[in-house]
Symmetry: D2
Subunit: 247 residues, 4 copies
């Protein structure tokens, strides 16, 4: 995939309402995330936000997106079900989806997981250490055996998700919890990566290792089979002709 088409989606509400968020991400979280990708040579990046028409994700925009990143938190309920339908279908047809931090409770992620996606959480300014547990995975490239995030909101187990296809990172938290922080899933023709770190009041999306992981994840999630045989939410295929003779 020489030129992956990326869309960074952001709820973009906190930034408008809370000075504490705006001071960290003056142009919005999506802009900081997009800049991080560009630093790593992923340049075909556009952004979309909740309050645009069709939640910023009309069918045409999705049709031109290879990998979608999703950041949401305070307004999950405002995402239209029709938007969720389109995202789900596009993932099953091959689009990569990278779900960030509080996006664990977003409608598209819950729809695609089929579970509650609930977890334990705490805001206490503690620090996190993210350990690599699958060093052969492309998403783990370039961050060493572990890296630290100085100040975070804690997410803890049990995290109610399906068993990941690949578990890449496990986080340690100062306050005594652990979390499966980097989880890969295959769904239909598409690939999904959930990445825990990231918050609206901490400058996490400027951190070197975080940007490395997100760039790795975009490259991993880019469609492998180039949408050659999409099936999406379609009905089953009636095989009228047998492939072999049946006596």
């Amino acid at each position: 995939m020489s030129d992956i088409r990326v869309t960074v989606w952001n709820e973009f509400r906190h930034e408008k309402q809370h000075e504490a968020v705006r001071s960290v991400y003056p142009d919005g979280l999506h802009i900081a995330i997009a800049e991080g990708l560009k630093e790593h040579g992923i340049t075909n990046v556009r952004t979309a936000t909740l309050d645009e028409p069709d939640n910023g994700l009309p069918a045409e925009a999705l049709a031109e997106t290879d990998v979608l990143l999703w950041w949401g938190h305070m307004a999950h309920g405002d995402v239209a079900d029709a938007t969720v339908d389109r995202v789900q279908e596009r993932v099953l047809n091959g689009m990569g989806l990278i779900v960030l931090h509080s996006g664990h409770f977003s409608k598209p992620f819950r729809r695609l997981m089929g579970t509650s996606c609930s977890l334990r959480w705490r805001e206490a300014g503690e620090h996190e250490r993210v350990w690599v547990v699958k060093p052969s995975h492309p998403i783990a490239q370039g961050v060493g055996p572990y890296f630290e995030v100085p100040q975070v909101e804690m997410y803890g187990e049990h995290f109610d998700i399906p068993t990941p296809d690949d578990l890449v990172f496990i986080s340690w938290f100062q306050g005594g919890n652990v979390f499966r922080s980097g989880c890969c899933f295959h769904r239909g023709h598409g690939k999904i990566f959930y990445f825990r770190p990231g918050h609206e009041t901490h400058p996490i999306y400027y951190q070197k290792e975080i940007r490395q992981v997100l760039a790795n994840a975009v490259r991993w999630a880019a469609p492998a089979v180039s949408f050659e045989n999409p099936y999406g939410m379609q009905k089953a295929i009636n095989e009228k002709q047998a492939l072999e003779p049946i006596q």
Copy 2:
């Protein structure tokens, strides 16, 4: 689990409308399935059907069910969304769910999988050979390295499901297809088993090996953690107190 409480759910429409089905399953598919379990010492079995109040699955019935078996085909759309909500929540709280054959397209299964669950299919009276690929799994017990089903409807790959936690059976079909026929999933506190063989016009639920597998599956899917800590679709848990001191 000494006395597993089982509910066999059947759509129970084909039997009322089609003589070809009634001649094979005069009392309904659910009765044949329940009898198979009883042969294997699973005796606390009741049945429920689509056209009963609350689709036969009011909250009280689910609260007394450890393992639910689901057979549906022609009327998936008639299952109320509220019923699907209750089944999903109960599975996440620990109930086992065994989805049979055409139940791959049922609402509860699609909800819990998050994918289209589409597949290839053909009705040509061909035969099927079910191979064990995880012989250490309790569901594979007692059926040898493979068993045959004389006449079946074919289901073929690609089967659009999440990667199973355990793949127990792969089927060979005379007409040239293969299928992941026995798939285990963990979701929340609950366990799910999808089992492919079974059809309304073939006497498959009377077959010895099929009954063995269903009994094995009920025992495997029975709740491990005895509903001691249910969370269902609940919100995340706010950990107000850290477990360790945070400087």
Copy 3:
């Protein structure tokens, strides 16, 4: 499995040489482990130790063992290769194997994993919190969402093992590390469980939750297919007759 035949194997060297170990486990670690199983109704338990003939595991002893527990540390190299051969073959034929703590570096475990099984470690008297990440798994039964071990030797990631079939526990350590502490593997007809906690100078095998987990693990690892079709390290099977006509 009504009456699982268990053998608890212990290197039994530390206890003879180090007073600090003898004061905690006066009769040997194997006796404390066996007692814990008996508390949970697993009564058909015998023990074996390294310095007995055939390392305590002659063919006849293995032939009467359904589940083998393995504790070793200072004398891994003294286990004969022929013993490792017998254990590997018996596992592939269906025997359960539960590898404890420093057994990660034992010859049978490394043989069955195919990797180095290396890890990070530290002896600093810190405490550990073991989190359940697969609450639907039978091995997680009865210990709540997490439990603590007051004083431990730390084991940290990266732990060089194959991806587990089921990841049941993840540990948090006071000193800043995490570890996949409860890992299930299927190999041949047999099941393997690695369980991290346990040490020769800490009274961990007397702890309530540890004993619960070990009893759960023995029941999970007991052979599912009752050695009906063993193949062990045998050659491939030449299928002289096709199962279907070949034109």
Copy 4:
């Protein structure tokens, strides 16, 4: 990975002894396999064979190999254990390994799997249909929902391997068997792909889809973490300093 360094290893005995093999692969299987990779733009390819010094794989050769392909059949026992040690260590340090067809019984594969790797087999000139079951996987790219191989030696389940990290292909055989034909494993820092099709008397390594899969597999197996932190078969790491204060 812009320029993956590939070594194609071939036993190269059949070709010298059997005219039936030489007529299909006059220069050896390794040459046909290498040519297939070059067609797909993987040009940094050399070959090695069993009867060269150090089995063609001295330490220096492995140190310059990113991905090793392995074809062996009649002389598995002639591969020196020291060669197996070097290959295993290099894989754990990050080298990709692609094991072809009868290589399922090779020493390096059995060492890295820890199981017998036995299977059922039959030589009857039947045909095979290889189905994609994980269409989102990069190795499945470009071959459609399935492809056929006109004449093959059959390999059938049960195939005694650890559960693959990713199951990409399942084969259907005319004679009534199925097989997990494309299996991915992560071991240490390295990735392993087992690919079933391929035989010394059938022109399988000239087939378009086979060459596509092998090229995909080389790109997938190329080291992700560029050998930055190799650990191989080394001892555990003693963490003398805690990462966090311990009271």
